[in-house]
Symmetry: D3
Subunit: 144 residues, 6 copies
């Protein structure tokens, strides 16, 4: 059940979202992945942008609910790190500009642990005024 | 008020905690920093370990309350990313093994924005059984 | 102060909402009740639908604030069970289709414990796409 | 992706926990299940009791982390319904006496939706004094 | 259903807790009240101290559950104002020193609105070190 | 690091918002302050009204992000006291009518503790129907 040192899916997804040049490590492992950018005051648009990218890039199979369900909870968990308290943006007068990465792979040495999905977010959060913002990070991990 | 590209304190702190070799970028900027490890089921021990390291390494002045207050809220925000919902560990039967980094610097171009503090956490969270765990990440940022 | 075995208002309300044929047990007790259906991405519409039904069916007296207040908190508590973390629907890109039951009665053996109100919810929660959903349940109980 | 009418895992688990005579419907479907009782002011003991019962009765394979992970999140979601706000018991001076049911089965018509797990809780919550309590219910559902 | 201007129970309870000389306004109205002090890192001890004082001073009848239930929720709501996020103290390494006031009266002009209870808290919250603290306030109101 | 008895910024801000005649104590200390009223079902409008008043009255310098950041978190903490659980208004079908006070001063005896900001809120919360409401109070304090 132990996490394989070279397959730390969370760390890999986070390094990838922090520095777009890093996607090689994901590709060397043969893992499926996608990334993108989204900025909004509406938290539902953040969720939608990540779900759409993950389906379009076939990181998840959008016609199977269990895959959507696994991704959704990973996104929500990553948003907890970004919002730190209430998963709310515009309703508490703040906005985000985020880069996101979704990675799907086998981080455990045991094959029966199967596939997991990681959602990494990095960007800024703050008032809806350019520059009145600081950085924010989130990571969500789920079995899929 | 804009974040200076080379002084992204959150990204720097996160890269540092993900890969201990990275502390050069913090030192090149002349920023104060510390790092350490802590594993516990008791969330208060996580807070105490980070506060103690930050005071001992003079990242904050422990005899000035406003510095302790700034650090405390940054720690709590970082713990939201790690715990994703309830800032609880043992009381919901889970434990963490974390590496932490605290960085204090001037991430904004304007000198009047002054100093900020970033707390980055990386490690694993899971059941109190070796291996029954996945990765977790948190970042908290505050003005100091 | 003990709950009377045959007057378990929460269990009765939950069995009622799970299976509409069950309303006899409520009626045998002579308790006031109502039920209905509501589907929405807007959490305020869920609250409004239950409040409107309870007033129209005279489960509560809408012109007395203490009754509205008791019902409101019972609804909010039931929504915690349905939403499990953040009492949000559309803002986190999810929708519900719910059946609800409101029951008002005396569940305790001692007459001085007076009347209590139970709100039971049962239905599905998920993405705003037909079928991408699983079941959800909530129960809120308050003195009235 | 639609929920099969006769295989509503959440409703089945909830009816089962509300009325112990109902386990036939689970058995007719050939689904794995277990149930038990636990009372405590310590929320971690509630989690432990459910996990232990699920492993001992082979509802999950305790040596595979993904199964433990799926069950853990289903338990936490069910506890949200019981605690309605903060997943805390003794730390906010309250205690619970709960019956629990864990059911594992295939609630969707499409075979690719695979197995899901439902945790249903029913009992009382209140002050640590006999009788100063009302009922509480929770349901958590996860893919496994 | 309107709040009577001279009977604003929340304002009266808050002025009372902020300045102990103010209890005359409560007594002029003929309302039942009590006050006290409690300091602890254990949130359950805060709840217990307020409940005990309210019972001993007959602000509530401790042998009637509906009164205990009304008071409990008012205390929990007041603690939200003091803790601002997670109703936790020692588990997140902080402590409080609080003065509390409980007032029971009829704040509405209409007699059918009956009795309500207000719990007001005022004091300091901070690190478990003398002086590393700032003020905190909370108010909870419930029908009784 | 101790709070000076006559400079209790939280108590001063709360007494000020509870009774508009009290602003003398703030002025005697030479502290900057502002106050106003706002009523809305939209929580972002509450935040905006307070921020706008604080900037217009030069309680904070709106062109320095660290000041906006300090105020924002103080507002959010005050809203926790008002909303007691979820920082939501219209989305859970409730509205507020609030008076607010923002005070900026030096509450500690030691000059190195510098300036702090307090946001005090007082008013009513309830259903979007006149009279179906009770009082609510919140206080947020931050270093600035």
């Amino acid at each position: 059940m132990s996490l394989a040192e070279q397959k730390r899916i969370g760390k890999i997804a986070m390094l990838y979202v922090l520095d777009e040049g890093r996607q090689e490590s994901v590709e060397e492992l043969g893992w499926i992945h996608c990334s993108g950018k989204v900025g909004s005051m509406e938290s539902n648009k953040i969720v939608a942008a990540i779900e759409t990218a993950a389906k379009k890039n076939e990181v998840i199979n959008g016609s199977v609910y269990r895959e959507t369900h696994a991704l959704y909870h990973a996104i929500m968990e990553a948003l907890h790190g970004v919002t730190r308290g209430q998963v709310q943006l515009g309703t508490v007068l703040r906005t985000v500009g985020l880069r996101f990465t979704v990675v799907r792979g086998q981080p455990y040495e045991q094959p029966e642990e199967g596939e997991w999905i990681a959602v990494a977010l990095y960007g800024t959060i703050g008032a809806p005024v350019k520059g009145l913002e600081h950085e924010a990070i989130g990571l969500g991990i789920n079995h899929i």
